[in-house]
């Protein structure tokens, strides 16, 4: 029984390996991640019973880590489907091994974006009131609409592009068979099916781009639509979209590097992919800096007192460490690594990406907390029952409590867990798309040789004597392609 797979020699065997063998390390990883998940759930239950008093939030700073997480996770989700859709539409050939890891990030992380906002609710038991008594004038409803459309699109996108691969798993008889049989929905790879699949993928690609842009735009509108100092800014829409794509690509690079290492996919996820994504990341670094610069220069030059309080809180006040750490993580570190060929290695892009992910979390934190600390009227308590009145103002500040951190870590661990489990049930690199790419290239070469017989003659005169199109290279006969 065990040797059944051995007879079937597939050039992309490495891609099936993670699905076929779930080793000890996998179960160890799942177990350790589950510990964090359970800790997070326990912390949430504690919060649910006791109320939000167990967090560090207060009447002055009423939004904190949870709302930061909400923006952060939804930001990370912009790596996937959006990038994948853009690369597909522009027919970037190098996308083929990248798309699925990217789309998967989107789908999995979106759940935690939505979860973060539900965790933040005071009465989560009433959350369906948002649907039952919807007020479409509220930016939160725009969020709900946009995120749910995005989630639906991303799931359909991920699934549609996975059907042929699921059929391959089904045909190999990998367990659980029933799962693959249902999900493959009768895919046999006929011409008609392929044509339909391509149409469906193209439609979803086009649909998902405006949806993705709208998602982070309306996330920013949650802040920008209020009149709180430094939130009420027209630049927030595009600023958040750029930030989202920025952190998303960084997360994608980290995920790819880990997958490459752990599943030995060095032949599939090559230096070229990291270089290309590195360029994209560099472009986003510059964009991000441009928006940040524009945002803060406008506030500083205008010098409105309410805004300046927030401004100085960030630049020199209590939140200066967070703010400058953000600038270092999001701009200085990437700018030291990404522009140079020497440092733009796989390790280099990973370091830059790690810094960016941390920096972008800090960015959201720094947007939310200092503004709330410096609302127009600072909350204080004055006992006027005596004269002269006694002011008893505790220095209001915000320090996240262990519950908030536990839930954050739990959410993150849950995301990684779902991601890992997924890679053990479905190939993380789109096999059919790789093969399609190869076939297209072979076709191209054939056509070229047909049109230029003199080139064919040249090749035939070489010591090898013939052109061979092996299926053993993931880039698919690329090396045999004659230069034009």
């Amino acid at each position: 029984m065990e040797n059944r797979y051995e007879i079937y020699q597939d050039p992309d065997e490495a891609l099936f390996q993670p699905v076929m063998h779930r080793g000890r390390n996998y179960y160890l990883l799942v177990a350790s991640l589950s510990v964090f998940v359970i800790l997070g759930i326990a912390a949430y239950i504690y919060q649910f019973v006791e109320g939000l008093t167990v967090t560090g939030l207060s009447r002055q700073v009423f939004w904190g880590v949870y709302i930061t997480d909400f923006v952060f996770f939804i930001g990370i989700s912009h790596a996937g489907t959006l990038i994948s859709a853009i690369l597909r539409i522009t027919k970037a050939e190098w996308r083929r091994p990248v798309t699925r890891c990217a789309e998967l990030i989107t789908v999995m992380v979106l759940f935690f974006g939505v979860a973060s906002i539900l965790i933040d609710l005071g009465r989560p038991d009433r959350m369906f009131n948002i649907v039952k008594h919807a007020n479409f004038g509220s930016p939160l409803l725009w969020d709900l609409t946009s995120v749910s459309v995005y989630l639906t699109c991303s799931i359909s996108f991920l699934y549609t592009a996975m059907i042929p691969d699921i059929a391959m798993l089904r045909d190999r008889g990998i367990k659980p068979r029933w799962l693959y049989e249902i999900l493959a929905i009768g895919w046999r790879g006929t011409e008609r099916q392929k044509k339909r699949l391509n149409i469906a993928v193209t439609i979803l690609c086009i649909a998902v781009i405006p949806v993705a842009v709208s998602v982070h735009t309306v996330v920013s509108y949650v802040f920008a639509m209020t009149t709180q100092p430094m939130w009420h800014s027209a630049i927030f829409g595009p600023y958040f979209v750029v930030g989202a794509i920025f952190s998303g690509i960084a997360a994608l690079i980290i995920a790819m590097a880990i997958i490459r290492k752990v599943y030995h996919l060095e032949n599939y996820l090559t230096q070229q992919h990291f270089t290309n994504l590195g360029y994209l990341l560099l472009a986003m670094t510059v964009f991000w800096f441009y928006f940040t610069f524009g945002e803060y220069l406008t506030a500083w030059y205008g010098h409105e007192p309410t805004e300046m309080k927030v401004f100085w809180e960030k630049f020199t006040g209590d939140y200066a460490p967070h703010y400058w750490a953000m600038v270092i993580c999001c701009f200085v570190i990437p700018m030291c690594i990404l522009p140079f060929n020497k440092t733009r290695t796989i390790l280099g892009t990973c370091i830059a990406s790690g810094a960016i992910v941390i920096g972008m979390w800090l960015e959201r934190y720094v947007i939310i907390v200092p503004t709330l600390l410096n609302q127009r009227l600072e909350s204080s308590r004055i006992d006027a029952s005596v004269y002269p009145p006694v002011e008893s103002v505790a220095a209001v500040n915000y320090a996240p409590s262990w519950v908030e951190w536990a839930i954050f870590v739990g959410c993150f661990a849950f995301f990684v867990l779902l991601y890992v489990v997924f890679t053990k049930y479905f190939p993380i690199i789109s096999i059919w798309e790789l093969r399609e790419g190869r076939e297209e290239k072979i076709e191209e070469v054939h056509e070229f040789l047909h049109e230029h017989p003199e080139e064919l003659a040249k090749i035939q005169r070489t010591p090898l004597g013939h052109v061979s199109f092996h299926h053993d290279h993931p880039e698919g006969g690329m090396h045999n392609k004659p230069e034009k």
């Binding site: 006791e50 109320g51 939000l52 008093t53 939030l57 207060s58 009447r59 002055q60 009423f62 939004w63 906002i117 933040d120 609710l121 005071g122 009465r123 989560p124 009433r126 959350m127 009131n129 948002i130 039952k132 008594h133 919807a134 007020n135 479409f136 004038g137 509220s138 930016p139 939160l140 409803l141 709900l144 949650v222 802040f223 639509m225 209020t226 009149t227 709180q228 007192p305 709330l372 609302q375 127009r376 009227l377 600072e378 909350s379 204080s380 308590r381 004055i382 006992d383 006027a384 029952s385 005596v386 004269y387 009145p389 002011e391 008893s392 103002v393 505790a394 209001v396």
Partner: protein, 301 residues
């Protein structure tokens, strides 16, 4: 094209169906409640409060402090008394005028002594402004907070999901969130018999106590105001509240510093108070366009 009878009937029928379908659909998506009677009420009643800063502070000075209005309001409305400042809930409270009306203080403030001066300035009463153009209600995803046609901004304690977006929308800090279970911090939450001599207000209050996780604020004592059959409030001819319907804070005030009534009735006390030629009238952050209905009166020295 010739119009046949059949064709005409078809078009007419479709149009009728369209109208029947369109009307509720339009109603469903329109927030503004512009049905006749409510617009009429809004044209006749706008509740407002005038707060006499001088009278309030003079009384405090003479009597060695005073917070009667706070006690009366918070007792009646079962506002929990939470010692932790960061989680406190308040419907009516005070702050230094230097902070509240920062823009009006600038001209005579020596910047080096800013903080010192700020705390020396008189105290002002703060409560929900019941804005004519309230920013908070726009943000509520469930319409748990809304504006009554007489101008009161209400919170539905049974619908609020506790997202705190209205708190982000309110520039006045008028909204409080129930961070914890607070029933134990309420004086007499369950309307148990009180020992003799305790203010009977506590016994009469039917106002519901709140659970953790929802937002609350001053409701201009909407719970004791009586609405007549025609939808109008049961005010007297001059637009002042009748004796049994005077808000708790106003009733408790011994200095007559709080004046309440219908701003649109020019005979009302509140209208007279703010149109007095010898007073300065301030409103909080008028530049935000919220059009607050609380007016702060400063008498000329």
């Amino acid at each position: 094209m010739e119009t046949t009878r059949r064709g005409f009937l078809q078009v007419a029928g479709l149009a009728a169906v369209g109208l029947v379908v369109a009307k509720p659909a339009i109603d469903l998506f329109s927030h503004l409640n512009t049905s006749g009677t409510q617009a009429e009420i809004a044209d006749q009643i706008r509740l407002a409060m005038a707060i006499d800063i001088n009278a309030c502070n003079k009384y405090k000075e003479e009597n060695g402090g005073c917070n009667l209005c706070e006690v009366a309001c918070h007792t009646w409305h079962k506002v929990p008394d939470i010692p932790d400042h960061e989680e406190e809930i308040k419907w009516i409270w005070e702050d230094y005028s230097g902070k509240v009306f920062e823009e009006h203080q600038m001209k005579f403030i020596d910047y080096d002594k800013h903080e010192e001066l700020e705390t020396k300035l008189p105290l002002v009463k703060l409560l929900c402004n019941q804005c004519h153009n309230p920013p908070c209600i726009k943000y509520c995803p469930t319409r748990a907070t809304w504006k009554r046609s007489d101008g009161i901004i209400m919170v539905d304690f049974h619908r609020c999901i506790g997202c705190r977006y209205c708190m982000a929308g309110c520039p006045y800090g008028a909204r409080s969130f129930n961070w914890r279970k607070a029933r134990s911090s309420i004086s007499n939450p369950w309307r148990l018999p009180q020992p003799a001599g305790v203010d009977d207000q506590k016994l009469d209050s039917d106002f519901p106590s709140r659970t953790r996780g929802m937002v609350e604020k001053c409701n201009f004592c909407a719970d004791i105001l009586i609405t007549k059959e025609d939808g109008l409030l049961d005010l007297d001819d001059n637009g002042n509240a009748k004796e049994d319907q005077i808000p708790k804070c106003v009733k408790a005030c011994q200095a007559d510093a709080l004046i309440y009534g219908n701003l649109l009735n020019h005979e009302s006390d509140v209208y007279k108070a703010i149109t007095d030629a010898h007073v300065h009238v301030l409103r909080r952050l008028p530049e935000l366009g919220t059009n607050p209905n609380n007016y702060y009166i400063l008498k000329e020295a």
